[in-house]
Amino acid sequence: MTFWMARQYRSVRYILILVSIVVLVPVNRLSADSCMKCHQEIEGAPDSPTKLIVSDIHYRNAISCADCHGGDPTVGYEEGDPSLAMDPEKGYIGVPSYNEIPKFCSRCHSDVEYMRERRPKLRIDQHQLYLTSVHGKRLKEGDKRVAQCVSCHGAHGILSSNDVRSSTYVENIPGTCANCHANEDYMARYGIPTDQYDEYSRSVHGRLLFEKHEKSAPTCNSCHGNHGAAPLGLASIAAACGQCHGINQALFDKSPHFEPWKELGIPECIRCHNHHLVLTPTDNQVGVGENSFCIECHSRGDNGYEAAAEMSSAIDSLKMLIDEADSIIRRIEMSGVDIETARYNLTEATDRLIEARNKIHSFNSRTVRDITKNGISKARHVIQSAEEAGEDMETKQKGLLFTSILIIILAGLLFLKIRQIEGRVNK
């Protein structure tokens, strides 16, 4: 073995020893404590604490049973007397009561110094927020059916929210809430609906999360909060939606609907878009057609009705023109013509259509019309250039067809002429 190899070998050995110390020592410490030894002997079920705890984030970070439940884990097992470990004088608490659990967890999770040393990124206001939540308030009133820490996180198999198996992993959050909120029997006494999960799953947000696995898609806690979970009040609906859809919120706030809706207590965004079942909006939801939301309040002759009709007509005109341009471009693309520029220019018209749809939230028909006018002019220009390219190609195709036929006829005549000359020579 060369000197260099020996040195490498020593380095690897030191690294392995270091890793063993970091990984194995805490685990050994825990598996050697009397709580684990006794409970492993008396517990057999796969969901028993000693089975679950091995994957628990606390256990993995060397937080022992006694760190939560108190007592002295160094005694009891060898002596054959568990009461030595579970001695109240040594701080043994045992199993906390249902309504004591938030306080129980917050001993560490609300301790700034403790958390800073271990998980400085984690928030420490969960308990404070929980007390403001509907769950927290009801728990305080003695309702032992409402959610507290372990209802969502589990008790002995708590995983990091970054772990895909965790009940608080972003894709699992709706299911975690649905454990209670989609249970009709469980929720019966609270008189609240249980179709939120079903509606959310079918919504644009739910489909983004479940079908496209977009981690930034909003889930229950994006609007309701998590530890401070509460229904959205009238005033906070727009703020919740505005977290992502800020421009729409800003437009609505300046619109003629803002004040009257506020006075009438009409919930802003969800009046038209629903709350859990937020679907992709369609153009016929605006205007005066039978599927329009506008005619639910506005009737023929009032300003709102006229504005709705004008906005709808402006958007329809632009949309039809874009569809026409798209179909022309598609036809010409298929004929092998390079029509990239027309297709590219059409994106400007499409941008105007999206902008106009967005500006509906201002309920200002003139703004919407001006934007669509701009889009219509761009779409017309695209149609014109696409048609010119198509006509040019058609002329070339026809020209080639004509020339080809002419060449074939000439070749045939030439053939006949040669045969005639050959016949004369033979005679």
């Binding site: 983004l208 930034s216 693309e333 990239e340 590219y344 994106t347 967005n358």
Partner: protein
Amino acid sequence: MEGKVKTRRSLLNWLLTGSLGTLILATIYPIIRFIYPPDKPEAVRNTIVAAKVGELEKNSGKIFKFGTKPGILVYTSGGDYRAFSAVCTHLQCTVQYEPTRGDIWCACHNGRFDLTGRNISGPPPSPLEAYDVAIRGEEIIVSRRTG
């Protein structure tokens, strides 16, 4: 002897006729495909000259045509070129570079992306498609990432 000559001549005739037929087919086939083209669109463009070196000032961006879709080339304050699809992942509006904040902004619904293309706020659910940028001589070449 005469039979041998006849066999050789018929072989030559056969070869000549075959060659002529092949020539006619090779001429006519592209003509027919031009007049009656195949029912499929043009291939997607994978590389383009997005700008010339020196065309962009630092902390600015440029929208360029990349096939049928817009792309965005950003010359960062740090002197790097970055290129992305300029099609917002929310509702497909065209995004733009915002020098005051040094990020990419979609005016339609106030979506924002950082200079790695990652969606950082607003409704866009996913990042912008990132392209590779290379400088060849005086040209800034943008290419789609393969694989």
